[in-house]
Amino acid sequence: MAGWSGPRATRRPAGRHPVAGRLGAARCDGARRGVGRPVSPNPVGDRFERLAQSIAERVVNLVLDAIDINAVVEQVDINALVADVDINAVVAEVDINALIERVDINAVIDRVDINALVQKVDLDAVVSQMDVDSLVEKTELGSIIAKSTTGVLTEVLDVVRSQGVGLDDFFARWTNLFLRRKAGTLPIGPPLLVAQPAPPALSPGAPTLERP
């Protein structure tokens, strides 16, 4: 098929111009028949081939129209299909670094509403899970705090006060032991200053429990 450009590929040779009269008509007729140009080595087979191609296209379209693709997909066991796929092997072939390099992180971050994100975070819960003692002890945060807040007088006061509290507890423990009362039954502080389980709030008109 090399060199054959097909019957429709009519191309006027360079430098030629249309010729008037019978000679011109004959020339045109010859050009229309493909005279002087390479032709297919098997013109009959080519026609059949094109015919078969058009029939096939028509048949495929008819078949596709007749098939309910959704019904076919529903019959496919996607889970089994996915289970057969070795995801690790697939992932191993992915060049993550190249992938990341193609991602515009700044554009992604620009689309994130940081304020909305932060508002959703329960910072109290996060902080409550932190071991602040350990943080202060093991990081330079401790020395920063010490330099900024600790003076000699503060240190002395801390010592004196904590020793005083220790002695308070010592005497209170022995008193409770002597009086045979449990420390847990005693109030630890005024109700407004010590977190105590609050009774359920009742509105003025709310029903109250009546004693039998």
Binding site: D133, R161, V165, G166, L167, P190
Partner: protein, 183 residues
């Protein structure tokens, strides 16, 4: 050098607002009595100096004992009542991180502070009873607290104190970055 040991957690953290114990209160009261007496002595010395400068003769307090007693009582009343009204704490109480509050924990009012001050001599005169009441009474409230409708609580930032203690310790050494071989 021995490592710094922070005070036990139960002695520091979470004690704010708890009823103060007998030792802290007694020592704080001792500091206050010393302050009252010391300031009175300073005042008497200043007045004596003044009279010597003005009249050429120093003031002899031993000759005016009744007047001196009245002055001491008034000065003591002013010392306690004024400071309790102002912030619920005297000099000694501030030193030991104590504070006078209402029996329910509300800030102490001027009326409560005055009544408490007036009732204080009762506890002071029978000091052992007052100390015993702090030990025995369920809310650690001696006579003048019960009369004045007040209580004394720890009011110092014990949590910050513990953090300061922990901060005294040297932080762990940083892990050294391995040196790259010279190419």
């Amino acid at each position: 050098m021995a490592p710094v040991q922070p005070p036990p957690v139960e002695q520091t953290v979470g004690r704010q607002g708890n009823y103060a114990g007998v030792v802290s209160r007694a020592v704080a009261f001792g500091v206050d009595v010393a302050a009252v007496w010391g300031l009175y002595t300073l005042g008497v010395y200043a007045v004596s100096l003044g009279t010597q400068l003005l009249f050429g003769k120093p003031l002899n307090v031993s000759k005016h004992q009744l007047a001196a007693l009245i002055v001491v009582v008034i000065w003591g009343f002013f010392y306690f009542a004024y400071q309790w009204t102002l912030g619920g704490r005297t000099l000694g109480m501030a030193l030991f991180g104590l504070q006078v509050v209402g029996a329910d924990g509300s800030p102490v009012t001027g009326r409560q502070a005055v009544i408490r001050t007036l009732a204080l001599p009762l506890s002071f005169l029978i000091l052992p009873l007052a100390l015993l009441m702090i030990l025995i009474q369920r809310e650690r409230r001696p006579l003048h607290d019960l009369i004045g409708g007040t209580a004394v609580v720890y009011a110092w930032d014990a949590r910050a104190a513990r953090l300061r203690w922990l901060a005294q310790k040297e932080p762990l050494p940083r892990t050294k970055t391995p040196e790259l071989p010279a190419s």
